[in-house]
Each structure stands twice: as structure tokens, then as C-alpha cells.
Symmetry: C2
DNA sequence: TTGAAAGCGCTACCAG
DNA sequence: CTGGTAGCGCTTTCAA
């Protein structure tokens, strides 16, 4: 059985799929040549043979076996994408961009959903790593890794420490240092030749695509100030939500630049959801919103919830009280009045992530996706 | 080199990843035993050895190589999902369901986006098949495969013929019989042991999860008739859009059951988009909507566009003219007035698809996802 | 330019 | 219950 040329080929045939072996035989060449002709990088195959092989492949309807190629080559032509929730338009837009760019590069996307759990995210990365993807993209994780209460001011320092500690024994790390374990995991992967890209998460030693939340909010504030607004309220999410924090910071700075200060009494912390926006608006309306001309909610869904709440409380959004949001989700133009917002090109962010991953040099790179203020009827100019 | 026990093991070590080989050595057992202990189905390994192996694996931070397992076993623990567009809430909801169920079953999801092109869909399926996934889920393809103009009445006949013709030389088939080629491709895959599930596409010889568009529309019509409406208009998409066709059919039947007939003059064909709804409503308002009490748009996005158009034309939705949609997308409750619609549990549809795929018997099965009418302020009761 | 053959990491069959 | 050992389908030296 070690030197019997009459190989028991039927195996492959019986299983149904055509292998490179079959193609080679059909073309009358060695399987090495067939391999080179079909997938070899160098063009060191006589043209005639090459076409014979291609013909045979076509005739037999041959399809390469990615897994076999993967095990032979050591990596898979895939990009692993981890999102918080596919059904969330925020993530699905990013996913769309990533997918599009990946396909253009001939890579298939494998997607995993982390929910909102960092723990789950870590597990996923571990699993995905096993697949030896060419690149891993982590999108979202809207919640900060550095818990506001425990982390020192400089996130970077923590990362560094955690990173060097984790590799030794990732699973020894308690549930507490999920972030460190994640970083360690990713660094090992990167060290083994993988590319890591984060979308909208900073402070990590990887390629990153950030959204210009701060700048967008800053410009929005100035635009609103320019439209004549002076007395603002802000609906924000918890301190631990990085996105919210940045937007509030940018907005506040923008107001300040316009010579306006924000009254702390009107900065309301609530859930980062439609319900949260509704609730905050309800409370504000209840205690009397007379002193407020306009509210800035850190996300459109919150803003939309707020508009409904105001309406329920007898205030007409856009007339009695102006409202502005952030994200410029599709329904921003469907609500009444149309919502002023800051457009965030999420899809581009996804594409940009792939660009970084594919073209990237050895050093962690970073690009920022810029945002654009869109004024609509929910914030009519005051004069 | 054929009998040299001092194997040049460094190779694996140098590449960075720990292999089963290493684990076996560390545990002092054969790699066969290690394999069994870690991934073997039967528990025919002495408990002590099993734990030694597990310990070694943990210590070395071993991760199995899915591709290697795949090539050895002949299939991958993945489900390939083809959607029209991830960013579309319709598809992303289905994708969420599929992903969730797949993960619960220990399968990873690889996602591909077909855009609206059947041609692209075919290519994708070809590629995906190469990956030897355990199951392939085709979601959406809202456009009919059977072009209304060219297809015989009985779709099944066409499929059968095309299916037997395709295998021989799939790529010889012109652009015209994309559908046949697709069916052929999927049938081969299925014959080789793969599971195929379609979501919301009927008439194909595969497991299918359908949405009860007809029934939902039927019930909606009766509910609206019950609320006192008599003079209806319908905004529909092109004949070739199956979903639209079914919804209109169900709606019409529902009206008929309530003794109401639909005036053809008020059945307007338009794009299956927000813009389409806007346009249709604009036209209707222009030529005078006095004769119409309520319009049913075959999708929420169309309905929402229509509401805006009515408002722009000086008609107050919910007062001057009622509006109802279909899908119950999130923003249905954010618009003013809140939109009456038919809830479609897309996420469940996705999960159901996986259930079919995993538990399915040999014969093509089919389940229907039921829909639920949700009456809101956009269609106040008339009395 | 080509073919033989040595793997890639893992599974599964076959003797013990 | 265990170890040896053929593969799985493909890539990639290494000589020829």
C-alpha cells in the first residue's frame, strides 16, 4: 500500500467532490503542476499545460477546498468580524462596509455577535482566532473596556500592563480583567501575523478607525448656537459609555467656544436607548422645560424617544422645544419634525477598517471618520 | 528521514501555534488519544488520561485548528448565510436570528452579501459551497427568481429541468438561467450531505421558512374594515416583487371577505422604498384623495414615506387620511402618528431556519412564520 | 518547467 | 482503552 501506483482513487470520487488529484489526472499532469496552474502565485507553468489544467478543472467542475488550502498554507482567506448586535443599525452599517470591502479583496467574512458582554467578546475572539483568519475586526463595543470606576486616568498604561501579563495564562485572569485578556489574545494573534482592526474603540495598541464624535458634537453645538439657541439641555448616557462621553465633551466645548455655558441642572443622565430618551424628556417636561430652548440627545434614538415624550407632555417638538440628536439614522428624516443630527458614515468606517487591515504597515495605524452636521426642522433658526 | 524518531518538531513551535502533537507529548499520550480526549465523540478514554490531556491543553493554551479538522472530517462547523444587504433591517433581523441559533449550536456563521443580483447570489453560493459549510441559508432575495414575463406558471417544473441540466456544466448556462443554475448548485450540495434552507422564498425544493404575508395582510384588511374603513387605496411594488404581490393578494382577499371591493384606480404601483411611498402619496394627494379614507402600503418604509408626503401636501395622517404598513419596523412607533402595521418576527424566522437545518429530516420541510396585526394611531377607529 | 514527496493539523480505522 | 498510521486536499520545497 506504500508503493502501489493503482491508487484507490474511488474514495474522492465516492465522496462526490472533485479534487485537485482528479484534475491533474484528467489534464495529464502532476498534481503539483495542477496546483501551480490553478492557484500558484508564480507563472512557472507552460502555458499549454496551464490551459489543459484549467480546461480539466472546468470540465470536472472543480472547486478548491479552502480548508485544505488553509491547513497547507497556514491561514484562511477570511476576515472575522465581531459586532455587538447585527440587528442594530449602527453595527449592521459597519458590517456592511466591512463585508463590501472584504469581498472586493476576495475575502469572506465570518461574523460573530458579542451581545453587550465583554466576556462573550473575549470568548469569541478566542474561538475566531482558532480559525486563523487573515484579519479580525472588532466593531462597536460601545461600552468602555476601562470601567470608569477602577481604571486609572491613562488607559494606555493599563493596556500595556495587562497585555504583557495576559499571554502567560489568559484563563487565570479573573472575570475582572476581561479587557486585559482580550488585548493579550489579540496581541498574540497579531504577533503570529494576523491583522487586528478596531472600529470606534480607542486606546488599544491596534489599528483603529475612530468616529469623530467629539468634533461632530462640537460643530453641532456651534451650529445651534449660530441658529440662535442659548439655553441648552443635554440627555446623556452613563459615564461608562465612551461614545456618549465624547459627544457630550465635544458639545460642551462647542458651546463654550460660542460663549455659552451649560447648566448642570439640565444635563440628564439616562439609558442609551429610545426609552432612556423618552424618560429623560418626560422628567424634564414634568419639572418644567420653560428654561430650556433646546435639548441635545447624544443619539438619535434617544432624541426620537424624547420627541415623543415631549409631544405626549403637550409640547410640540420644533416649536415649543427644539431637539437635536446624533448618528443621522434613517428615521431621522421620517419623524416629525425631521431631526437635526450629525451624520456618521458608518459604512465607510467599515470599509476603512478593511483598508487599514489590508494595506496597513507594521505599526498600529489610525484613521478618523469625520462626521457632518445636518440641520433640520427640529431645530428651526431663532431670530 | 523516513525512520528518524528525533522529529524536527520545531516547525510547529516556530510557527507559534500549539498543535495536538504538542499537547499529546506534554500529556504523555499518543496524539490519537489526545484527539479523542479533546474532540472525540465516544468517551473511550481513561478519565485520568483525559484530564491529563485537558490539563496539557490548558497549560499550552491549545486551540484546535478548525480547518484541519474540516479537511480531516470532510465538513466545517459553519453555516453560510447569504443575505441581500446586511444594512437592511429586514435582513439584519433575519441574520441576527440565524446567528443566534447557530452559535447556540456551536456553529460559526459566515455571511455574504448578494446585493440584489441573482447573478452575484449564484457566484456566492458557488464560493460558499467550496467552504463545505454544514448548512447554507439563503435569506431574502425579495425579488422573484421566476421572472414574471418568461416563467411558465409552474415554477417547480422549471426548477427540476434546470437542476438536471446544470450539473454537467454550470458555467455554460447563460445569464438567463441563473435560477436554474442556483438550484442545481444547491441540489448538488444537498446531495453531498449539506443542508439548504431558504427564508421567504418559496417554490424551491428545499427546506423553507416562509413569512405569512398573505395571512397577515388578510387579517389587517379585516381589522381595518372592522374599524370602519370602507374606501381603500393600496401602494404596491412591482409585480415581480413576490412579497408585495402576496401582501396585496391577502389584503384584497381580506377586504373581499369583509364585503369591500378595491377600486383599481387607487391601486398604485411604485418603488418598494421610502421614496416610492412618498411619490405614490404625492400623486394621490395631487389628484385628490377625497375618495380615499385609508391607504395600505405594502411595507412600513413605503408607508412612512407616504405619511410625510401627505403631510407635505397639507393632509394630516391619521386625521385626514389613515395609513397602514407592513413589517412593524422599529420606527413604526416613532413616527407621528404611530403607524398601524403587521409585525413580522424576522428574528424568529432566522432561528427557525436554523432549527429546520439542524433538526430536519431528509425531506424538504417548510414552516411558516405567522404575523400579527398591530393597530395604532395612524388608523383611528371610525364610527 | 516539472514531478516526487514531505508536510500542514487533525480524525478515524485497525490492531493490540 | 490505546498507539500506530493511513489518509483528508492542498502547498511547497527539492531535485531532476
Amino acid at each position: 500500500m506504500d508503493e502501489a501506483p493503482p491508487a484507490p482513487v474511488p474514495a474522492a470520487d465516492a465522496r462526490g467532490s472533485v479534487t485537485l488529484h482528479d484534475v491533474a489526472r484528467e489534464a495529464g499532469v502532476s498534481i503539483a503542476t495542477a496546483s501551480r496552474a490553478l492557484n500558484g502565485s508564480a507563472r512557472n507553468v507552460r502555458t499549454e499545460n496551464a490551459s489543459r489544467v484549467r480546461a480539466a478543472a472546468a470540465k470536472l467542475d472543480y472547486r478548491p477546498h479552502p480548508s485544505a488550502q488553509a491547513v497547507a498554507r497556514g491561514s484562511t482567506p477570511t476576515v472575522a468580524l465581531v459586532v455587538g448586535d447585527v440587528a442594530d443599525p449602527y453595527f449592521s452599517a459597519i458590517a456592511a462596509g466591512v463585508t463590501q470591502a472584504a469581498e472586493a479583496a476576495g475575502l469572506v467574512v465570518t461574523m460573530a455577535v458579542a451581545g453587550r458582554s465583554p466576556q462573550r467578546e473575549l470568548e469569541l475572539v478566542r474561538t475566531l482566532r482558532g480559525q486563523r483568519p487573515r484579519v479580525i475586526v472588532l466593531a462597536g463595543t460601545r461600552i468602555d473596556g476601562t470601567t470608569a470606576s477602577t481604571a486609572p486616568k491613562d488607559g494606555r498604561a493599563v493596556d500595556g500592563a495587562a497585555a504583557s501579563a495576559a499571554p502567560g495564562d489568559g484563563r487565570a485572569v479573573g472575570g475582572t480583567d476581561t479587557r486585559g485578556a482580550l488585548v493579550g489574545e489579540l496581541e498574540e494573534y497579531q504577533a503570529a501575523g494576523g491583522r487586528v482592526v478596531m472600529v470606534s474603540q480607542r486606546d488599544l495598541p491596534f489599528d483603529t478607525v475612530t468616529i469623530d464624535n467629539t468634533g461632530g458634537a462640537h460643530r453641532l453645538a456651534r451650529a445651534l448656537a449660530g441658529a440662535g439657541y442659548r439655553r441648552f439641555a443635554v440627555f446623556r448616557a452613563s459615564e461608562s459609555v465612551r461614545t456618549s462621553r465624547d459627544r457630550v465633551a465635544g458639545f460642551t466645548a462647542g458651546l463654550r467656544a460660542a460663549g455659552i455655558s451649560l447648566d448642570d441642572r439640565f444635563v440628564i443622565e439616562t439609558e442609551f436607548t429610545r426609552g432612556g430618551g423618552y424618560e429623560a424628556a418626560r422628567k424634564l417636561a414634568e419639572r418644567g422645560a420653560d428654561e430650556v430652548e433646546i435639548v441635545f440627545a447624544v443619539s438619535d434614538v434617544m432624541a426620537i424617544g424624547a420627541m415623543t415624550a415631549f409631544r405626549d407632555a403637550g409640547l410640540v417638538p420644533g416649536e415649543d422645544i427644539a431637539v437635536a440628536g446624533f448618528d443621522d439614522i434613517d428615521s431621522a428624516i421620517d419623524v416629525t419634525p425631521a431631526l437635526t443630527s450629525v451624520a456618521v458614515p458608518l459604512r465607510e468606517a467599515g470599509q476603512e477598517a478593511m483598508r487599514l487591515a489590508l494595506g496597513g504597515g507594521p505599526a498600529p495605524d489610525a484613521v478618523q471618520i469625520s462626521t457632518r452636521v445636518v440641520l433640520r426642522e427640529s431645530t428651526p433658526a431663532r431670530r
